[in-house]
């Protein structure tokens, strides 16, 4: 399987999808958060995009670490520390992992574990993890069943979307939305939505790049 796509390509795709869903995402964090999630992510993305040509030239471990450090020092907020920790950890893991499909899934798994650890959270708490974990489970299943890259990416997209949608009826127990208690039910979590948009955009790029 050929999975080499440039980081800059991914960044452009992510920037585009967030632009297209900007109002929706902003409103999600306004409804049950504090309204800054879109701007936080975009600040991080802008910083990464400025670095994209040098990121393209780096080896995967360095690139992932650099992405993590950049997100950590530009985003702020809950999502900044979580995504920052995720990528820094992925960078560390990548150093000792073969970057084939299974290896990339392992690297992603390490990233998701870092989010769980940093956020002291798990699936079912109405956070980005409700996207990230189902996506991981789907990827791991694809590795086990030797899916084609196309199949793997499509299942990933489905799993991420289902996970994202599942946050709608959840009672939040982590992050700002938890303070609203029952009032937060009926709203999708902003971080779950952006994670899903990002994963889906990357998957599209992988599919197109085949």
């Amino acid at each position: 399987m050929n999975m080499t796509i440039a980081i800059s390509t991914c960044l452009n795709a992510i920037t585009l999808t967030l632009q297209q869903h900007a109002d929706e995402v902003a409103e999600l964090d306004q409804a049950i958060g504090d309204g800054d999630h879109l701007v936080n992510l975009q600040r991080g993305l802008t910083a990464l995009t400025q670095d994209s040509s040098s990121l393209d030239k780096m080896a995967l471990p360095e690139a992932l670490s650099k992405i993590g450090m950049t997100l950590m020092s530009t985003m702020g907020g809950a999502s900044g520390s979580l995504l920052g920790s995720m990528f820094v950890t992925m960078g560390k893991t990548a150093k000792n992992t073969l970057a084939d499909f299974a290896g990339l899934v392992d690297i992603y798994a390490a990233g998701v574990a870092a989010v769980k650890a940093r956020g002291k959270a798990d699936i079912g708490e109405k956070t980005m993890l409700d996207t990230l974990i189902p996506a991981l489970v789907s990827l791991q299943a694809s590795v086990r069943s030797n899916d084609s890259l196309m199949q793997a990416m499509q299942s990933l997209q489905q799993a991420a979307e289902q996970g994202m949608l599942s946050t709608k009826d959840m009672l939040p127990t982590k992050g700002r939305a938890s303070f609203l208690g029952e009032r937060a039910r009926g709203h999708i979590d902003a971080g779950a939505r952006t994670s899903q948009l990002i994963l889906s955009a990357i998957a599209d790029e992988v599919i197109q790049n085949q």
Binding site: I32, D34, G76, S81
Partner: protein, 329 residues
């Protein structure tokens, strides 16, 4: 959105520049990464107090940097916790041999970013987590939020650090103040985050958001608009249930405005809250009324009570010289 600004994304930088010029006698503002620190670092080892959090709560925290209170503060973007590199740089710039105490409001973003900074900091350090918002149950899944009680922790621990208490003692003192402090707030309006450009939520004329935090978010419940007496009663009763002060107890009563509430109304709120406590035989021993922990241009207020003893009174009264709080010097 009608605001005095040039561009939403330059507001913070420009505002901080203004702050630095206005208070050049006591603070220095660094820009990359961004933090504010005392101009004069003690020439003997002294526990360094570092706080920070999203912008939009001014004067918290930068307004509390100075003699007898914080050594440094890291402002994040509006309602967005600052980043670990800010905290690290701030801590390193003021640490002078007695370690660093981080004072952190309990929000996922602040907690996690300060955690990362603490892991990275080589100097000895500890953290006090402020979680004074009793609109949430004590066993809330993430713990309670940190709100207007934060400045009381910063003032009292700041005085102790100034007097030479060590890191462990400062942390223990901070936790004592946290245990003895309870706050609750309400909002009559939303606020508008400059970068978003429209109110975070809408609220009907006959509704009040009860149990709000300080990030312009909705409260725990919507309650019907009512007289100040009725509304403030709900705040004080919840605080009373939490702290259960006994008759004869001395308290610090702090009425905080969320940004757009006239001082006249804040003193009315003070009057109602003070009488509530006085009727229970509680003594209003110290008071603080004003806009100290704000949510941009939100209309609303919070009530904070700290149970005082001789130690806390002496530390509260100790000299402080910051942009927003000053006495005794």
């Amino acid at each position: 959105m009608k605001k005095l600004l040039n561009q939403p994304d330059t507001l913070l930088t420009e505002s901080l520049q203004g702050f630095a010029i206005a208070h050049a006698d006591i603070v220095i503002a660094e820009t990359s990464p961004r933090f504010v620190r005392r101009k004069h670092i003690a020439n003997h080892p002294k526990v360094a107090l570092v706080s920070g959090g999203g912008a939009g709560h001014e004067p918290l925290h930068a307004g509390f940097v100075g003699q007898g209170m914080l050594d440094a503060a890291c402002p994040g973007q509006v309602f967005t916790s600052p980043t670990p590199d800010q905290m690290l740089a701030a801590a390193e710039s003021v640490e002078n041999g007695a370690g660093v105490l981080f004072i952190v409001k309990n929000y996922a973003g602040d907690v996690m970013n300060f955690e990362i900074a603490a892991e990275m900091l080589e100097a000895e350090n500890a953290t006090v987590l402020v979680a004074d918002d009793v609109s949430l149950p004590a066993d809330h899944s993430t713990g309670r939020r940190g709100v207007a009680g934060t400045l009381i922790v910063e003032k009292i621990v700041g005085a102790a650090a100034e007097q030479g208490r060590d890191l462990a003692a400062c942390k223990a003192l901070g936790e004592k103040v946290c245990r003895q402090t309870a706050s609750m707030g309400l909002a009559l309006s939303s606020c508008t985050v400059p970068e978003v450009g429209k109110p975070t939520f809408t609220i009907a004329d006959n509704e009040v958001e009860m149990g709000v935090g300080i990030h312009g978010e909705r409260g725990r419940d919507i309650v019907p608009m009512a007289s100040a007496e009725t509304l403030v009663q709900q705040l004080t009763e919840t605080i009373d249930r939490d702290l259960s002060p006994q008759a004869g107890q001395k308290i610090l009563l702090h009425i905080n405005g969320l940004g757009a509430t006239p001082l006249m109304e804040l003193y009315l709120v003070f009057d109602i809250a003070a009488k509530y406590w006085q009727q229970k035989g509680i003594e209003i021993h110290r008071s603080l009324v004003g806009n100290y922990t704000t949510s941009l241009d939100m209309i609303g207020c919070s009530v904070t009570v700290t149970l005082l003893d001789e130690e806390l009174i002496a530390l509260w009264d100790a000299p402080v010289h910051t942009a927003a709080l000053r006495w005794g010097c």
